[in-house]
């Protein structure tokens, strides 16, 4: 018989090195260089100018508003995501599959379109907006509008993380808990939550990153009023249009910094999740 070693695609050196080279080139030109440029530009006027740019009152307000929006969005979507994941993985009801598909809509729709939809619906000439305007409630072009669209854009993150995990873990542990007499809350706190905590944190980190950096949807509904409805991402653009390049990059460096922290936290959470799934071999003794 004709004997030949089977070759996998990666066994050929030139394929391997071409792919590695390509990946490296892309990473450097598309990721590393822009990141380096952000920081070099931000610090191009020296540390004093950098700090001066950041402590500018409009910038400070933008930072505050951004944190405020994230501080509202994250808890809302945390609770919403957990409820949704619990609902679709623990109960059978008509339309369950459709609901799982619907969760992805904010990912599928362009954020700008999402912003426009909210403007049409809740703007002072919109269907609901005009009714609210009659009662002196203004949602668009103020912070509630920004929070609303940010919640919409980031709502799938937590649920998307939890659903596959909760499906895989099944409901047996919860059934065991309820047979042993646990109430719904005890069940959630003592059985469900410890099992999903790392996935939940992962979802929260992603939600937060997106909430802080969201531009498209927010720019439609905020109205870009300096010192009032300007978030950090919008502020970067405003400064840039004002030819304040160094200022724009100083603000951008904050966003980039948040992104870097997010990546570190995300890697840590991923590492914890992998550890949780693997059997705890290091702790077993040889009795």
């Amino acid at each position: 018989m004709h004997q030949r070693r089977t070759m996998r695609a990666g066994d050929q050196p030139w394929v391997k090195w071409t792919l590695i080279g390509l990946a490296l080139a892309l990473t450097i030109t598309m990721l590393v260089m822009p990141l380096v440029i952000i920081f070099t530009q931000a610090f191009s006027g020296g540390l004093q100018t950098y700090l001066g740019n950041l402590t500018d009152s409009y910038t400070l307000h933008a930072i505050g508003l951004t944190l405020f929006v994230a501080a509202l969005t994250v808890p809302i979507n945390l609770v919403f995501g957990v409820f949704l994941a619990w609902l679709v993985t623990r109960f059978e009801f008509p339309g369950r599959k459709a609901l799982i598909t619907l969760i992805d809509i904010p990912f599928a729709v362009s954020p700008v379109v999402a912003g426009l939809l909210y403007l049409l619906l809740y703007g002072s000439n919109g269907w609901l907006g005009s009714w609210l305007a009659d009662r002196d409630v203004q949602l668009m072009f103020s912070w509630p509008g920004i929070v609303m669209v940010t919640v919409f854009v980031t709502c799938p993150f937590v649920a998307r993380e939890l659903i596959p995990l909760m499906q895989q873990q099944g409901r047996e542990e919860e059934e065991a808990g309820v047979v042993l007499g646990a109430t719904g809350w005890q069940l959630f706190r003592r059985v469900t939550l410890p099992n999903i905590q790392w996935a939940l944190l992962y979802g929260v980190v992603l939600t937060n990153a997106r909430a802080v950096g969201e531009f498209g949807a927010v720019s439609v509904v905020s109205g870009n009023i300096r010192g009032e409805t300007n978030t950090l991402a919008l502020h970067v653009e405003l400064l840039y249009q004002d030819y304040n390049v160094v200022g724009a990059f100083a603000s951008a460096s904050l966003l980039a910094g948040i992104a870097l922290i997010t990546i570190v936290v995300k890697s840590f959470v991923e590492w914890r999740q992998a550890r949780q799934r693997a059997p705890l071999d290091d702790q077993s003794d040889n009795r």
């Binding site: 047996e172 542990e173 065991a176 047979v179 042993l180 003592r190 099992n195």
Partner: protein, 374 residues
């Protein structure tokens, strides 16, 4: 605490999982629900526990209606098929869970909980594993922890779903014996689900055989085996050799083979059922039976030697199996390809119109030619 199941019916969509099931489990008894997968036995167990609600019918514990009672209030011990241990808790925390979630007024003090957990772990002989996590345990250990956890609330009813299904044969046997002892010691009422007939017959006081959402028969293991009430039960409990034929003047014929019946039978198309120990093998055919067979395989494992046989000059849907003693085996030395004759001592026949099989016997005088015996 006795369990009464009254007219339980359950549908999943168009699938009839349980069809008007009634069953009495007397106080302190161990009952096995035996059936193939999809027969509804697990669903019934979950309805008793309250994990599933029946469409109609009632469940009573000691005469008290618990149909509307929440799982939490039923206070049964439940052992899940895949153990369902809390993966992020240690063994000790798992066993303590039921006590920890009690309302503050009823909850024992921390020291007392620890004491109870230690006692339970000693009872399942796993005290030294208290600080391990479930992922670090073997299947048999997990099963015993699951039992200890279920018993932590001192339930009067213990329900077990395929308790030994995922374990290997040796561990299974040990655990079975151990469960039986535990049951006799603590006097709870138990219901367990299994698809393994040997397990059901060995462990239970009573066995309920289920098929397609119905209970076929409830009896003690001995009676179930000796007097199966239907063809299904007969087929389900161990291997049966079948001889299919037409009845002509008291003789059932098929191809070259025939069996002469000693008593009248009304049906024309007959199936004779013979268990492996109800048939004897001989080197020559007998006055009342001519069933030539060829030896296909010889298996020496176990208390007897099992021969697998194929018919010569007639047909059978499945190969025949006959057990002979090791002494017989040593005298005879059967090999693959050898020919021999099966002689029924007892056969069971299911007549048209009646569900229960009838047992036919041949008198000793009609057989036993010592010269022909192997």
């Amino acid at each position: 605490m006795s369990i009464s199941i009254e007219g339980i019916t359950k549908r999943f969509g168009s699938f009839q999982a349980l069809d008007n099931i009634s069953l009495e489990v007397p106080d302190g008894k161990l009952i096995g629900l035996l059936g193939p997968s999809g027969s509804g036995k697990t669903t019934l167990l979950r309805i008793i526990a309250g994990l599933e609600t029946a469409d109609s019918g009632r469940i009573l514990f000691q005469g008290e209606d618990v149909t509307r009672l929440h799982v939490r209030e039923r206070r049964v011990g439940f052992v899940f098929q895949h153990y369902a241990l809390f993966r992020h808790m240690t063994v000790a925390q798992n066993v303590a869970f039921g006590l920890e979630v009690l309302p503050a007024k009823e909850r024992p003090k921390a020291a007392e909980i620890r004491q109870r957990v230690d006692t339970l772990l000693e009872m399942v002989q796993l005290g030294h594993l208290a600080n391990r996590y479930p992922a670090q345990l073997s299947g048999g250990q997990k099963q015993r922890i699951a039992l200890a956890r279920a018993l932590s609330m001192k339930p009067q009813i213990l329900l077990l779903d395929e308790p030994f299904g995922a374990l290997d044969a040796k561990v299974r046997k040990d655990l079975r014996r151990w469960l039986r002892t535990l049951h006799d010691e603590f006097h709870f009422t138990s219901v367990f689900v299994t698809h393994d007939q040997e397990e059901a017959l060995e462990l239970s006081d009573q066995v309920a055989v289920m098929s397609a959402g119905k209970i076929e028969q409830v009896d003690s293991p001995q009676r179930l085996y000796a007097e199966p009430g239907s063809r299904f039960v007969f087929d389900f409990l161990g291997h049966v050799n079948v001889f299919d034929g037409r009845l002509e003047e008291q003789v059932v014929r098929q191809g070259e083979a025939w069996v002469r019946l000693g008593e009248p039978v009304t049906s024309k198309e007959l199936q004779l059922y013979m268990r492996s120990h109800e048939v004897r093998l001989q080197s020559m055919s007998e006055a009342h039976a001519h069933l030539p067979l060829r030896i296909e395989s010889v298996s020496l494992v176990g208390a007897e030697v099992r021969l697998e046989l194929s018919p010569i000059g007639w047909e059978s849907a499945e190969p025949w199996e006959v057990g002979i003693t090791h002494a017989q085996f040593n005298n005879w030395q059967p090999k693959r390809g050898d020919q021999c004759y099966a002689v029924p001592r007892v056969a069971h026949v299911i007549e048209e119109g009646s569900g229960a099989p009838r047992t036919l016997r041949w008198q000793a005088g009609e057989m036993d030619d010592p010269a022909a015996m192997i």
